[in-house]
Amino acid sequence: MATITRPETEDVELLRRPNIPSADVRLPAVKDYEQVDDEITATLHPTGQWFIGLGVAIAFLIVGALAWTYQIYSGLGVAGYNPPVMWGVYIVTFVFWVGIGHAGTLISAILYLFRAGFRTTIYRCAEAMTVFAIMTAGLFPILHLGRPWKFFWLIPYPNWRYIWPQMKSPLIWDVFAILTYLTISATFLYIGLVPDFAILRDREKNPIRKRIFAQLALGWRNTDREWRHFVRAYLFLAAFSTPLVLSVHSVVSFDFAMSDVPGWHTTVFPPYFVAGAIYSGIGMVLTIIIPLRKWFNLKHYVTINDLDAAAKLALFTSLIVGVSYANEWFVAWYSGSPAEKQFFANRLWGQWWWASSLLYTCNICLPLSLFSQWCRRNTTWLFILSIFINIGMWFERFVIVVPSLSHEFEPWQWAGYRPTWVDYAILCGSFGWFSMWFLLFIKQFPVIALTEIKEIVKPRLKFSHPRGIDTTAHPLPFMPDTPGEFD
């Protein structure tokens, strides 16, 4: 909520200096509330390219679904599992999608609490991405089950079998963490959408769509009572989501760290996984938002300053991930454990050298370019880099999962791993599943939050109030907390 605050100092000119780029939320090309509604709701009409994109996504999904059907018929052996490597592409992709889901809540909740202005224009996309990424991630543990139709046995409920889950197992912790994250992320997305649904309800001409939006808006009327409680509830949801972001990927990391496998049994895993998740999520946000702002002609909403700030976040998290890699190597050396040392040697210079090289190049070397402002503000480079980040982060999880299982303590436990066409097909299917939901979302609902954008647009004023107004509509001698709000 935009507000007016008293300055700490009397040096007005100093305060007026734009605080760019990270906190700059000025949208100089957006003049009033009506323009926001008109331009953003204009993106909701499906186009030919959109239908083509949706068709491609569904085609990928069908490929994945057919492969899964074949796997159910033939058994998990068709997925390239050979003892001792019994976790492969499915678990790698599960961790990858959970990671992608982290940036949404980071941007929508954590940056909301920190009042980071640049989140406003990109958070709706990131939130939707989170929900669909978690929906995708949730499929993989089910895909990995021998009898996937029994997945609900993981949930503790009174049953005729009189058996309950093992509550000390990290895999059961995962079930709770992922379900909680999906529920809270979806709730957060929906509650934030309610005022926007009301706008769509009031603007929509098609009677069927209007009726659907009216149902989704739950009778929202923009009253002072609704806003007062909405803002507070949204804040609390953000406050709840913040530790959730940190906990979910920590719990995912426990799947590995709680075991006694070389390369997995390390205390650095929770922060390492959380930083990596945020990093990969920011990468995916950039992959999505850069073409979207171009196709939807929304460059004056998602400004270069916003991308610049997101790129800084990507750089920061890439440095944390880099330090985590260094920490792994150091601990392997410092532990004095021959198994750990051999395992890391095998990962770096042995059979998995190519995967390690790829991930270090994508996750450590290339992001260093973001120290340059030119790179941060060049959308072409940012887009290319974001693709490399996505690839690098998938391979990071590959390097965590597969080399450890293929090089445990004893030589008889050393093996190779080669994914089959079923793995590749289901991996493609997961991208199809995610893209299908996202494409459906962007043409039915606003990809930029209408209400929150209005909060950073200068409100219409009858009289001249260069520094805002007080509660009785008199000019204030204070400065707005949103830079440029009353310029």
Partner: protein, 166 residues
């Protein structure tokens, strides 16, 4: 329910109308705005939202249930390992925490519905689709003999349109 709705184009005139309405005490009023504004919230000055109590109670209920379900399951179906507790509170903190977030978050939404009085089946009188677009509205329910005074007050404050609705 009979009242007067005033449509305002500007934020400052809306705040002005609220200040005068509060001073004159003509009756209960509702303000419509396309986006939340502190200026309006301060002008109305309704105090803190009660949503926080729902959040607190939901969170406490969630953390209690999370620990309880894990401990109960361990006792009901014990997996006995020599030298280890059957119910161990440290790993069960994961359940306590996750269920706290889950129930606390859902209770917050329930609190929002209860305190903000929605979902609503129908729109009440006074609402205009312009209030979600760019205009502000002030709806007042004065006593029948004060109706004209309320209309005049809204016009004087700068309303571009004033009408009586029931």
């Amino acid at each position: 329910m009979r009242g007067v709705i005033g449509v305002f184009r500007e934020l400052d005139t809306t705040c002005d109308a609220i200040a005068v309405l509060k001073k004159k005490k003509l009756g209960e009023f509702t303000v419509y705005s396309p986006t939340p504004r502190h200026e309006i919230e301060h002008a109305i000055d309704k105090g803190p939202s009660a949503v926080r109590m729902f959040t607190l109670i939901g969170g406490l209920a969630g953390v209690t249930f999370g620990y309880w379900i894990a401990i109960w399951i361990s006792d009901y179906w014990p997996i006995v390992v020599g030298g280890k507790a059957i119910a161990s509170w440290i790993p069960y903190t994961v359940f306590g925490f996750e269920v706290m977030i889950l129930i606390g978050g859902l209770a917050t939404v329930a609190g929002l519905f209860a305190t903000a009085r929605f979902p609503r089946i129908t729109h009440t009188v006074g609402y205009d689709s312009r209030f979600s677009y760019g205009d502000y509205g002030v709806w007042i329910e004065p006593a029948p003999d004060k109706m004209q005074e309320a209309e005049q007050l809204l016009r004087d404050a700068g309303a571009t349109e004033v009408r009586v609705e029931r």
